[in-house]
Symmetry: C2
Subunit: 372 residues, 2 copies
Amino acid sequence: MKKLATFTALTLAMSCANATPVSVNPLIIEQQGSFAVGGTVKTSDGTYQPRPEITQNHTSNEFMAVFNESIASGGQTLHGDHATVSYQIPSNAKKLPLVFLHGAGQSMRTWQTTPDGREGWNNLFLRKNYAVYLVDQPRRGWSGRSTIDGKISATPDDQFWFAQFRMGEYPQFFNGVAFPQDAASLDQFFRQMTPNTGAFDVDVIAESLTALFERIGNGVLVTHSQGGIAGWFAGIKAPDLIKGIVAIEPGNFPFPDGEVPATIDSAFGNIEPTKVSKAEFKQLTNMPIIIYFGDNIADQPSKIQGKDQWRIRLSLAKQWAQVVNKHGGDVTVVHLPEVGIKGNTHFPMQDLNNVAVADHLANWLKEKGLAE
Amino acid sequence: MKKLATFTALTLAMSCANATPVSVNPLIIEQQGSFAVGGTVKTSDGTYQPRPEITQNHTSNEFMAVFNESIASGGQTLHGDHATVSYQIPSNAKKLPLVFLHGAGQSMRTWQTTPDGREGWNNLFLRKNYAVYLVDQPRRGWSGRSTIDGKISATPDDQFWFAQFRMGEYPQFFNGVAFPQDAASLDQFFRQMTPNTGAFDVDVIAESLTALFERIGNGVLVTHSQGGIAGWFAGIKAPDLIKGIVAIEPGNFPFPDGEVPATIDSAFGNIEPTKVSKAEFKQLTNMPIIIYFGDNIADQPSKIQGKDQWRIRLSLAKQWAQVVNKHGGDVTVVHLPEVGIKGNTHFPMQDLNNVAVADHLANWLKEKGLAE
């Protein structure tokens, strides 16, 4: 009886340890905090009335009526379209911080705890002594204040993203996929998503990134997916501050006028390459760039959404690298399975092997002199 | 000449110190991360088609058309209405963590860096060895995924909130207000705001808080403003887990059926006290509760919005404390100027004297045995 009790206690202790992995070493954080950066101010016509004429008492339910009277008088401002940044600076921080920008439908949570409760790249790169700046882009997450109206549809679409993000063909995961396949982890993953609160605007996002680097100084930009597009434009705007760009499965690539390749067909939505001026393009030859793609990407047209959607982007990435390098740039495209890192979804920073991918990136940063 | 140079260097060093205050001691963090908690799953009618019939190739601009085809086939889920939690557990953490819930129009940024760049209560209470859990309530900030449609109006309203949050009568600050009065700080403050992505629902929020305490165990709940209302209902639902409640200028108070006081009039929107059952009310006599109110609150009806709006809530708070204490509870209402802490706005956790207010709270936690 006693032995059984001990065994049960041990089992419980072990399952607790599995549920909440405890890191061996604490993080030593010299500074941490949050701030807004970039953005604009919109002002309504009229004159603000701090003491509106109140003709009668309003009931509790009429608080909104008072609010509406106040904004109707006009002359008020709205501070919006900024990015919000959460940062941590560890002790003995390296010179160049890492700035992380999420992708479509995501927020800075992309870089934090993984869906199954392991440490994300935020913690992993703090442990490698990088200062880490996480961004919620304008009109997303903490940066929800937009200067244009927004409409949010609550139409179920998780399965579309499961396919697009290359977990598998719902409800089947791809064989050998490096994503946790238990229900609780998938639940957590879906709950990372958070909508645009106003129209997606790549220029507004790129400007907020530029403003961020102007505030914090030189650094390395790490983008994910849709965020990659804003990242290229940030690199074009601030090539002296952005000392390197890491793009995890970016959505598109800016080719110079006159060297734009053909659109690549996909049954799930083509990619028309982005076009920029030669002068703009030239800026992206000023910093080393690495682009990562994961596993389960087709090399021929496929009827599987995720495999086909990233086939066309990986193909475009390789074409873009050639053009940048021909113009004196330094772009490396890493197709992870080719370097022995297998099973990755569209979220390698969260996959089961996210430590291996982080280590690969850390080596590249070191090689390029960005890890001092 | 040399003396001048030394003087200049010293001046520069001093202004840098002002711009970015560097804390003397680093934070030692044993664990940190984020997760979703609570929420629901909404499913659309139909059958999900992982391989929709694609009759023609779609161009890049038709990615949304593919997305719309996918969701139109139905059979998809939406995981929404959860809270999102960011947590840090310092070394030598006290037994009971603090859970912080923001107010109207805000997110967990309420508790982080102040508008003028000082440490907020997140850092201050980590330094006091509390584990800290910051919440973005359902349909706000990182928890933007809602099961009901949302509409966001980009109508300028900063000046309404400046008044409601008791900074002053825009553009004038109140005399002696403990809020930084430079333009950059006010800009940062306005940019903390972030809208609801779906209708505000106090039950959904209270349920997510309950789910959070079920996950992390016993703790103390700290609420701000509108968040206070969800906080009372969380206390009613989980009185065994919520060992104390701290309410910073809560928006309303739950009175027991039969003891609901008269509605208090304000020209800027009355307060009709919240009514709960006697059994529900009784749960709030099970834990110590402290309620804070700041400065510039009128004791007679006032034509100044902020002074009048918090007059009626402070008055209601005092009535509520009497009723709870009569039923065997332990509620303390602290009107900060009466204990010598002056000038506070609706955001004492960010005001210039936020350290003094935090210390007052820390003493109360100690007195009530919540600081072990």
